[in-house]
Amino acid sequence: MTEPQNPASEETRHAMPAKLLHDLRTELGPIIGYAELLMELAHEQGQECFLPDLQNIQTAAKNMAAFISANFRGIGLPETPAESATQQAAASGTS
């Protein structure tokens, strides 16, 4: 027989991983964002030689974000609707 879940303990159980996920995502934001900004600038200024490396930085950071989300989902942390849409777009190669 399954014991009824206590909402308070469920919240407490999620509090620490939720904060860690929040902090990791916050730090990944500038890595992805600056890489994309530099890709735009490199393209505009005819510095295409930098694009492959910048693309690698962006891809690695996005992979890290997906890896973090997947692992946190594995411990039962629910994803947000926006995150779900992003994951679906990434899976279909449209992001």
């Binding site: 999620h14 991983p17 939720a18 996920l21 929040h22 902090d23 995502r25 916050t26 990944l28 934001g29 500038p30 992805i32 964002g33 600056y34 994309e36 900004l37 735009e40 950071a61 996005k62 974000a65 946190f72 942390l77 629910p78 994803e79 947000t80 609707p81 926006a82 995150e83 849409a85 992003t86 992001s95």
Partner: protein, 132 residues
């Protein structure tokens, strides 16, 4: 040129996002915490506010509640930006009065779509208001 108010305490996120938005043709004014965000919304009258939820002094939920309870700022669309993971965070942001919600790391095309949609909705509803 639409004016956006970006309320964000993380310096790198603030710099990166404001520069990317400026390159897309927006004027961007910046605030670094909840109280200055509320004050700048009153003094700068932006067309839209991008509100980080985890802010010092006054968090984004309370700042949005104050903006939405003030006649001078309640019409300004607010997009909540958060790196919080819980699905309840979206409901919490909407309950506070946010008009939209997006998660970090920011996907710029997705965020731009939400900005454009809210700006166009706001322009449409202000055009419908009777002039008295």
């Amino acid at each position: 040129m639409p004016k956006l108010l970006l309320v964000e305490d993380n310096e790198m996120n603030r710099d990166m996002l404001s520069r990317r938005l400026q390159r897309k043709g927006y004027e961007v004014v910046l605030a670094v915490d909840g109280p200055s965000g509320v004050e700048m919304a009153r003094t700068h009258a932006p067309d839209l506010i991008l509100m980080d939820m985890s802010l010092p002094i006054l968090d984004g939920w309370e700042a949005t509640r104050r903006l939405k309870s003030d006649a001078a700022t309640q019409h300004i669309p607010v997009i909540a930006l958060t790196a919080h993971a819980m699905s309840s965070d979206r409901e919490k942001a909407l309950e506070a009065g946010c008009d939209e919600y997006d998660t970090k790391p920011i996907e710029l095309p997705r965020l731009l779509g939400k900005i454009e949609s809210l700006l166009s909705r706001a322009a449409h509803s202000s055009a419908e208001k009777p002039t008295s």
